[in-house]
Symmetry: C2
Subunit: 227 residues, 2 copies
């Protein structure tokens, strides 16, 4: 008897973040056997039109591609959808094929558990340009400096997860603390591939892990009670 | 312009092995940008009928479920199929929807690069009962003791990746060396989640990594030459 609804993952933005998300979904289940896990359908598609180019330069919208991926996953059996890419949530309205678990809302909910006066956000491109966190947060959001965060994210996407990249992101988190942030959200799926809790002088919310927890919670079926 | 055909993954056997395989596919591409990666479609389905029960006790065949997963992936666009589960290869003949990259053949090919007189195999259940490696190998195959390997694999599936499990598997590899094996194949996708090259006194072939390399090689499209 499955314990979960089938999870569909709109992925590939980027591919490493999707692999990270799948690992977190697996690790997040207290499983004694394979069959305790949810079925997970993934479309890891790195050819979705660029989210940042669409938000910043008016390039082709990724919305139709995301909608098509959602429909494909639901046709295969997905009952709950998640998308481990913050920036792509600018086009989340295009995803209507099944209930959609918002990564932005999941990360903000975890941040608000610390009752912060302000939240610091390490994100890039469309996440900032469309103010995705500012629109979802009940408290002010302070954005990390793109001149620091964007090169770090580009380096991680190219496979560089070294100390220089980690230190750059940690320094930006410290600057946001000095500006008043009381929690930091790693609001780009590449960031937590490098930046860990011990690197930051504040609580650090991993948006990928927050989405994994929220997705498993939404997919879990109620326990059956013996008659 | 995509550099790869779309890869379909028949997964979930077990879920952690599929997450490991996706991570290896991503890490195996020398990518500067997201768009350099292949599109990867995954059906991580932990509810496929038990491979070991089918091989050992005549329980329901997993073949029809594997065939249906393959068709679903191809319907979504998969052009090359891979299945990161050694035991399930006992039913690989059921997978006909697209070209199938055999994990067994990929691991044996990597082992044979060492020109061994015999190969040691750390596997379980159907992998051993159906002699999948013996049938694929041009040299004799020595199987690890199930009384050691099966409890280790069960522990890993339940989330135990500790030192005791690693030592048990390393001890069995050493025993196979004493019996004449010159290469060891980690022939169950759970084994390389714990056992690393330095733990074994012989070359260690990770069947999951061998499949990732073979799958990327099979999916890669020829470079276009400028006219």
């Amino acid at each position: 008897m499955p314990s979960f609804r089938t999870i569909g993952v709109i992925g590939g933005m980027g591919p490493a973040a999707t692999a990270d998300f799948l690992g977190l979904l697996v690790a997040g289940v207290a499983a004694a056997r394979d069959t305790d896990h949810p079925r997970v359908l993934i479309d890891s598609n790195p050819h979705v039109p660029d989210r940042n180019a669409a938000a910043l330069h008016g390039a082709a919208s990724p919305g139709p591609a995301l909608a098509a991926m959602a429909h494909g996953l639901v046709a295969q059996g997905a009952e709950v959808l998640a998308m481990p890419c913050n920036a792509a949530h600018g086009w989340a309205d295009a995803i209507t094929a099944a209930p959609f678990i918002s990564m932005i809302d999941a990360a903000v909910a975890e941040a608000m558990a610390y009752c912060p006066q302000a939240i610091g956000v390490l994100g890039v491109g469309a996440t900032l340009a469309l103010d995705l966190y500012g629109r979802a947060s009940p408290v002010p959001v302070l954005a990390g400096d793109l001149a620091v965060v964007q090169p770090a994210v580009n380096a991680i996407k190219a496979g560089d997860t070294g100390a220089a990249v980690r230190l750059a992101l940690a320094g930006e988190a410290a600057r946001l603390r000095d500006a008043g942030a009381e929690v930091i959200i790693a609001a780009c799926t590449e960031v937590p591939l490098v930046l860990r809790a011990g690197d930051v002088p504040l609580p650090l919310i991993n948006s990928t892990a927050a989405l994994a927890r929220a997705t498993l919670a939404a997919a879990r079926l109620p326990d059956r009670v013996a008659p």
